[in-house]
């Protein structure tokens, strides 16, 4: 029965305002702080409802729509970004908590038109199809390497397991990561 209620709660959450993606309206009783967010090396002054997630701030306030919302529950990894070089589900953290942090999104991965090597490796290894989970997969791969986890195939498989790909590109995603790191 516990599982039943979990499902019912989840359904209610969908209508409860738990996911917020726009600035505060008069309905909000919460604070609307003003703060500075460093995204991809650029500082943005933001005034948003304190409830606004980092994901919604990126997508709906800063126009950085490359980061995707797959579940808004921290279970699929589509919204993965880097905060100070480490992976984070941007749907599970509030924008206001990240003043002073360095946030990197998919838009900040390439250097101008020069692809990041993991992006090139994803293309070379055909590691995606519909592309919706791909920004999260890429950021997760970079974060994993930064965290020192890209040791071998099995470690990569384990460490990439937070990012769901319904197109089933996992073998090629793992190939791409190993290709990039020169390991197999």
């Amino acid at each position: 029965m516990a599982r039943t209620s979990l499902s019912a709660v989840a359904l209610q959450l969908s209508g409860s305002g738990a996911a917020v993606s726009e600035p505060a309206g008069p309905a909000s009783a919460t604070a609307t702080p003003t703060f500075v967010l460093d995204v991809n090396g650029r500082e943005h002054q933001l005034t948003v409802d304190a409830r606004v997630t980092l994901l919604d701030a990126l997508r709906d306030r800063l126009g950085l729509t490359g980061t995707k919302k797959g579940c808004d529950q921290g279970t699929c990894g589509a919204c993965t970004v880097l905060v100070n070089g480490r992976r984070i589900d941007s749907c599970l953290t509030l924008a206001v908590m990240h003043e002073g942090d360095r946030v990197t999104t998919i838009e900040g991965l390439a250097s101008g038109e020069q692809l990041h090597p993991i992006q090139a490796a994803f293309i070379k290894n055909d590691a995606f199809q519909c592309g919706y989970c791909t920004p999260g997969q890429l950021m997760s791969a970079v974060g994993m390497v930064n965290e020192g986890h890209a040791i071998d195939r099995n470690t990569v498989r384990e460490q990439m397991s937070g990012n769901i790909c319904r197109c089933g590109c996992y073998p090629h995603i793992v190939d791409a990561v190993l290709d990039w790191k020169g390991r197999s």
Partner: protein
Amino acid sequence: MSTIPSMIGSPIRRREDPRLITGRATYVDDVKMVGTVYAAFVRSPYGHAKVRSVDVSAAKERPGVVAAYAAADLIAAGLNVSIPVAADLPGLKKPAHPPLAIDEVRFVGEPVAVVVANTPYAARDAVEAVAVEYDQLEAAIDLEKAAAGPPYVHEDLGTNVAFVMPVKTGDPEAAFAEADVVVKERIVNQRLIPCPMEPRSMLAHWDTGAAHLTLWTSTQIPHLLRTNLALLLGLGEIKVRVIAPEVGGGFGAKLNLYGEEIVVSWLSTQLGRPVKYIETRSENFAAMTHGRDQIQYIEVGAKKDGTITGLRMKIFANLGAYHQLLTPGIPTFTPLMSPGCYKLTGFDCEVTGVFTNTMATDAYRGAGRPEATFMIERAIDLVALELGLDPVDVRRKNFIGSGEFPFTTITGLTYDSGNYAASLDKALELVDYKGLRAKQEELRKQGRYLGIGFSTYVEVCGMGPSAAMPAPGWDSAQVRVEPTGSVTVMTGISPHGQGEETTFAQIVSAELGVPIDSVSVIHGDTDKVQYGVGTFGSRGTAVGGAALKLAIDSIQAKAVKIAAHQWEANPDDVEYKDGKITVKGDPSKSMTTAEVGFTAFRGVGLPPGLEPGLDATRRFEPPNFVYPFGAHVCVVEVDADTGEAKIVRYIAVDDCGRVINPLIVDGQIHGGLAQGIAQALYEEAVYDENGQLVSGTFMDYAMPRAHQLLAFETDRTTTPSPVNPLGVKGVGEAGTIGSTPAVVNAVMDALAPFGVKNIDMPLRPEKLWKAMHANSNGKVNE
């Protein structure tokens, strides 16, 4: 067929990739319009309940709220519609399916009211202020109980049975009379949830000046959606434009017309503002169509030598609470494909479609065919076990021979081409079958349980001949040679991850000799592209690509006439060769498509009576379906301590006819394998007895992740299809259809020493552990 240079068959990297890899692709939620308001739906928390009242007045008072509607408000405002079902069957019961429930809710997640606000969170907050009074009713959840009697999902029908479809062919009585053994089994093909990573997403914009509606929606069928929306909203079809921008996966679940799409479009016409609705993942789990969900009682007659004589089946198909677009049509594929790769002399089947208080089932990758393939491939193994034969030998014994195509099966389908033994041979060679059996024997002595499972599948796709479809089965292509020699392709299919922007450009480049980068492939916008049917049923290249080939043929024929006129040659002596127009036997005379295209554009120097311009619009009406096939081998090891089944090797030899781009074909196979293996081992949609969806999040619904899937070993045989001018078969669903039984057969093979014959999917560790630790009374030794 004209010569196709090396561009065909090359692993060209997808042109879709750069925008996807940089976060620059535009999915529906990435489309931003000034003045947008946001919709949120109030949904039923009950599986079955009377709706006593719906009061939206308090929601309307919430700050930021623009409007709120219950079903009665929609009807009063003139929107009194039922969500359409295209599939039809004799005697099919079609209960009304309003986009907002009127006086009864029949599944958890059914929309009851809608609110619109200036921001998404204001809309969601306002959902809480909508007061709905429910009287909970008993829910019909168990499929077989629902088929047998009350409670009824639709009380006025007096039954939950929506249709009964008998299929009796050959001489089943004689077939079973000559059988030495009859193997019986109850086979469960559990309900699955498609879960594309992009949930249903839509943005409707009613342009008040032009009195014109644009709907961006994450769909596989933009044109069919436009036609249906126009009819439902009472708008002229020319007043509706549907755009499928980048679509983040569909898997059949976006081959539909959802009530939310109707309501959101209508809201925009009422409010005169863009209205956006992006469903939450919880809503996606509960209220986007599900797949599979059949219980099959089978009897297989066989002779001692393994010859399968006849098949009897009683299939219960769970339709859910209402029909969606193709709901009742999906299970009708199952009997048709149940004979698989095998020759039978008697077939007797009855399909019963049953309403339950659950989300509607509809197309999900494979759509009715995985249920057939799983059944027959399991049945073959059960027969082999009963007779003490090798499952490989039983398969071979019953294969349709490579010289027997086209082959009309006992259920009346005509398989186009095939060589089932060849793909099986190749798979056996790759896996070293003899060596594996020896290893299995050795490991068993050490208390380790290796299993080897086969699936030799055939599937029906390339949907399909119009006469055999609930919608048009043809598709279209327009090819335009532009004045500078660039080529624009408008395709009626609607790719969403399958890569046809690339494969179609390859075909054009090969046939017209233009650089691939000067070919543009446009799709998914009803104001740009001529009518097309869409992407589903592995039809993109088999039907849409074939239409493209026809359009290219027309272009070439006209270009030849123009070149011949320029050279004062007989058109019969002029031909397209290696992408150039030449005079036969005179290599000094040569023109490119671009040169001829410019002449055609300039309108000077054309043969008398020939229209200027070099373009063509063609449609391909498939004379038959196509039938991809293959042989899969799965090797698993089941851990006796934990019951976990680990796939050790997976070999897939698939035949999808001629391959345009092997990179993309392999990707489609991989994706198919992932979803098919997931059904065998992990995924299951679970409703409790009240109709609560227990598996309603990614934490509860076990979609496979990177650590669960190993590298697959893929190979292919190539048996071109005679059905279309490209010789291609579909490949989108084959991996899913073929893989599920291979995995289950492997696990059952591993558990053979325990006397285990059948365990229902998904083969979770707990079930396997119990089977391995049960005593002779079937009790588990704890």
